[in-house]
Symmetry: C2
Subunit: 310 residues, 2 copies
């Protein structure tokens, strides 16, 4: 079951032909979640051959143009392609009013559902049997949210041959699945880890764009496998970062370090940087597992077993 | 002095990575006029190294998304780049309301001027000493306009040595400049064409997207050097063309033929055509000087002398 992030656009406010504005698509178990939708997102989705019909949820971090100007074209093309499925759009502010001013509601052959984000803490915005998505506030010039994509812990699977061997009842099985050991008739304790198959570690990804250095997010993104954190400037432009409420590469790396994430993905570099190296080097000094967001980059988060069970 | 058209986007409603939605930029004497502004126009302008600061006029043919969804990003980037110059936007419908719902008016550091097109005949929308731009109605599902870009006829230039020779007064000069012959004191008639330098033929370009086959436009685009006319379908899909009020490649070629244009540029092909050849072949059978619009294509209209003067 995939857990895979595709960077559709990695630029900051001024895009170029090689760097489109912000948009990531996250494939979790063949459900596709779009975070941010900068101008040209529909073009990138087509270029990277992502099945747009599988996108039913769009998460917009904030209403600066480079994070949502692609939503109009995306919706229009969905409509032209005969989409029937509902589309759920999560964002702060009144994106519903904006969209229905640009696109006539009556022209749409599918339904849009708007979910207005408005919270000062972490909040679940989507939940299915195996996936949970939350939002949490970032610190930017306008109301902005980060998103956390998490696999839920799967139920434990009991080794089939042991069901027979110990003649486990349904009651026993349910107890073992929730982590209990099993006591045989003879009074022998069989450890839960001996009864069950190795567990898969739930995978997770956090998307944080745009924000200044903001330690309050650390609690929400602790231990994620992959953290995307904006890094608009290097430390040389710390003052500009502070004024515009953006982060430096160092800021992003410090957050990654404190949150103990697996890998850090940085992007949203100011267009003044013709070369990513200074940003990469700056982050890497603080946090070794740093990656650079580039349009078309795909990061697959592999399944890992929980060590206690090995 | 250039008269040059750059195709920024040539797709119909569904863009791809190689074909962005409709947008052309016309460089007339180093003034840049943008016609239509599909999603990604700002990216193409940057890719083709067009000085965006020289664009002060944007002409939107109609309010279907593939012809204007790039205006938001363009305006935002102008703002970010510190633009001070006014920007004039010509379009049917209430684009002002749409733009100011998407972008906060107070955030803009330059002024937008909206010119609402609303005419059932040809109307001049821009005029300078050397350039004239008109709009005229097309026939599409919603209110749509074509645009005609014309150089004005330059004043005649008198051969310098003859001013001396015939001792021409200012009154004589003005009369010759307007086309009169000159009668010497001896009563000899010197023809105007012998007194003046060869004249340059004013160049012209017409942009017609989107429209069904509509012969009423012929009067407005008669004899233009270059006609861009949409050709969404081939004749095999004539019925679809009629229903959607688009043109076939044959329709475009018939208009070109009747209007006696120099060259015909066709584009806005339906995304179902993976290969342009059937559309090209169909048009070429009717109108030989047919060209295919492709993103990045530049057409320079050369200066030609008016033959009577040769």
């Amino acid at each position: 079951m995939p857990f895979e992030i595709t960077v559709l656009g990695s630029s900051s406010a001024l895009p170029s032909y090689n760097k489109f504005p912000s948009a990531h698509v996250i494939n979790i178990h063949e459900r596709f979640f779009l975070t941010d939708c900068g101008e040209g997102t529909q073009i990138k989705l087509r270029q990277y051959k992502i099945k747009v019909s599988k996108i039913n949820h769009v998460f917009i971090s904030h209403l600066h143009g480079d994070h949502f100007f692609g939503i109009f074209g995306l919706i229009s093309s969905f409509n032209l392609l005969g989409r029937k499925n509902d589309l759920h759009i999560f964002s702060p502010g009144d994106l519903e009013k904006i969209i229905y001013t640009v696109i006539k509601k009556n022209d749409l052959k599918f339904q849009l559902f708007f979910h207005r984000l408005n919270t000062d803490t972490k909040e679940t915005v989507y939940e299915s049997k195996r996936i949970k998505i939350s939002c949490f506030p970032l610190n930017h010039r306008i109301e902005t949210y980060g998103f956390l994509f998490e696999e839920k812990q799967k139920e434990k699977n009991i080794k089939k041959e042991l069901i027979q061997k110990y003649k486990l009842s349904i009651k026993n099985i349910l107890a073992i699945k929730t982590g209990n050991d099993f006591i045989t008739k003879e009074g022998i304790c069989i450890k839960n880890s001996d009864l069950t198959l190795p567990e898969e570690k739930p995978r997770s990804y956090a998307y944080c764009s745009d924000t200044m250095y903001f330690t309050q997010i650390i609690q929400h993104i602790k231990n994620v496998d992959l953290l995307y954190h904006e890094a608009t400037f290097t430390e040389k432009l710390k003052e500009t970062a502070t004024i515009t409420k953006h982060s430096t590469a160092s800021d992003a790396a410090k957050i990654a370090l404190q949150a103990n994430v697996g890998s850090l993905l940085i992007g949203h570099f100011s267009s003044r940087y013709k070369n990513d190296t200074p940003l990469y080097d700056e982050a890497k000094k603080i946090f070794k597992n740093t990656l650079i967001a580039q349009d078309g980059l795909i990061i697959k988060i592999p399944v890992q077993e929980i060590k206690e069970n090995l």
